[in-house]
Symmetry: C2
Subunit: 347 residues, 2 copies
Amino acid sequence: MAGSRITIKDLAEKMNLSVSTISRALHDHPSIGKSTTDEVKKLAKELGYFPNSVASNLRRNKTHTIGVIVPRIDIHFHSHAISGIEDFAYKSGYNVTIFQSKDSLEREIAITEILQTKMVEGVIACLGLETTNCNHFTKFKELNVPLVFYDRVSKDFEASKVVIDDFEAAYKATAHLVSIGCKRISHIAGNQKTDIFKLRLEGYKAALNHYNIPVDENLIQYTSELSYEEGVICAKNILKLEVLPDGMFCANDYTAISAIQVFRKANLNIPNDIAIVGFSNYPISKVIEPTLTTIDDRAFEMGKATAKLLIRQIEDTDHIISSETIVLKTDLIIRDSTNLKSSGRIL
Amino acid sequence: MAGSRITIKDLAEKMNLSVSTISRALHDHPSIGKSTTDEVKKLAKELGYFPNSVASNLRRNKTHTIGVIVPRIDIHFHSHAISGIEDFAYKSGYNVTIFQSKDSLEREIAITEILQTKMVEGVIACLGLETTNCNHFTKFKELNVPLVFYDRVSKDFEASKVVIDDFEAAYKATAHLVSIGCKRISHIAGNQKTDIFKLRLEGYKAALNHYNIPVDENLIQYTSELSYEEGVICAKNILKLEVLPDGMFCANDYTAISAIQVFRKANLNIPNDIAIVGFSNYPISKVIEPTLTTIDDRAFEMGKATAKLLIRQIEDTDHIISSETIVLKTDLIIRDSTNLKSSGRIL
DNA sequence: TTGAATTAAGCAAACGTTTGCGTGAATTTT
DNA sequence: AAAATTCACGCAAACGTTTGCTTAATTCAA
């Protein structure tokens, strides 16, 4: 499509210089005279020359491009992570090419194959739900292209990772419920094929254990996608119990919100009858009524940290780093959904 | 970084064939014998050969890459639009490289310059808030690289565009308020430097005119970013009026929600005291209490339509299309925030 | 049994840069 | 004034593909 793009060759002909001289002049190479350098640049500007980075990439074996694979772009968490990735990458002179796996293993594999052909200098990935093994990522190791996973990572695959401490966050959330006096704490869990949701469940259980509260499987609802709709179903299931819980930790904010609403429609008071903690700090959480206590998952920060780590590995020429795992701190944001009124439950 | 990538040349040497034969065999060129074609492919697979698309791109003058410029990725609307873009592009064999302008004109310009060097085959852009003229996009025209704007477009710049009919949507939203009996309708407006927000204001005014309701500037609140926080301020300003409005059309959902909450805290009933319509159909809108009547802005569809139009133009070899504008229909989604109880206001 | 057509492959240029090496000329050193 | 150094630039290969043009061998038609 490049209509009649000006090339270095054109400049060379116009100036009766060799292409190598032009190239060097444009890069301020010291072996080119100051005056010619200036004239070359001047002419380049006049003619509207701009370099063809594809050619340059080929020759220099560098693309300054990183490939990003996410399940879906339109999920709040990922769009924020991607924003962090793009922002850091841009400032470091890298471009990001984005692919969504749509949680399909097949598509995820196809994407890795595309990335392989594109000479990307690094890859960032967040695993799809269907992904249980990471064999399709080994090619990047073989090719020496740095790879960093974020959020949904594989325990079994040795690679750099950036995660939040889901276990600790869930523990913290559950402990918070205990600390305000909850004795029967329910949990809406995510897909247990995904480590992060497994960890959230484990953190929940660990906190209960620590406070000598028996784990009651009846209080645990499992979902496959943690969708709002699934949350409604889970909450309704909870309502069917003979003895209701007095606290609830949900593996994301959507389910927490649906639970709030189902419970309120059943004339339960949040937090006094059931205190609720979500996970992710979605914008909605500070707007819902009551505002939702939740875990801030640091999506933007995570994206930024991921890009930073990746670029460090790309630019670490002596390949000393083999793999590195960064665990980001989370924050428990306490809001009204766990803010018991003094008139509330007796501790 | 490409450690020891297998190239066509390697295959050629191993098989005592020329590189051109290998290349043709890999592409099922008819002038290569069936048997050699098969053998070449077999060896390619064995050795783990995969093409270097950078080299191929350079030679063929095609990158199958489209560049996307958005203000921010982490805004719900854009993340959905990008999702639509990526999805359609992927299925059509294109990759997307994403940049966020952060609403900075300077950065937007810098991005267009980067894109120019990258041989992208097409560009999709949503203008940043600071962008008032589009001179930095003319280079794409000159280079014959197709360009499609979406959502925030420039009236003065001739190019393909995909938009929703903001005027009609705003008109529809306002008319809906009138239809349920509102007589004093307020508006929270967006940045008037941006066409879409101007159109929303105009649609609002047009509907009032049509129903012979005088436009009262006191009822119109202007914001610069339509943020939640600005919405709170606007709503509080409205509360200071001597005569309160009985309806309100907000240029986005965030401000609508903040208004709902401010009004409720002031002991006003939504919708009976003030009925409220938002804009964009953010996920939060169907979850807030009361659920919010709003305009569905078709973000995903818009992204998809944009990518479709762009790719059509890329592949339209005889460059017949000069520019095309697609206007997407919007839907008014009626929910509780305008669902007057029969016990409500007397019509 | 020729000549023509077909088949299967190779040669080499091209895409636009970058870069190691080479080379005269100008400048400096001794 | 000769030698050494520096300066400013050119030559040509290279990055990995693709592709127009040839070419040699085979097959076919008459």
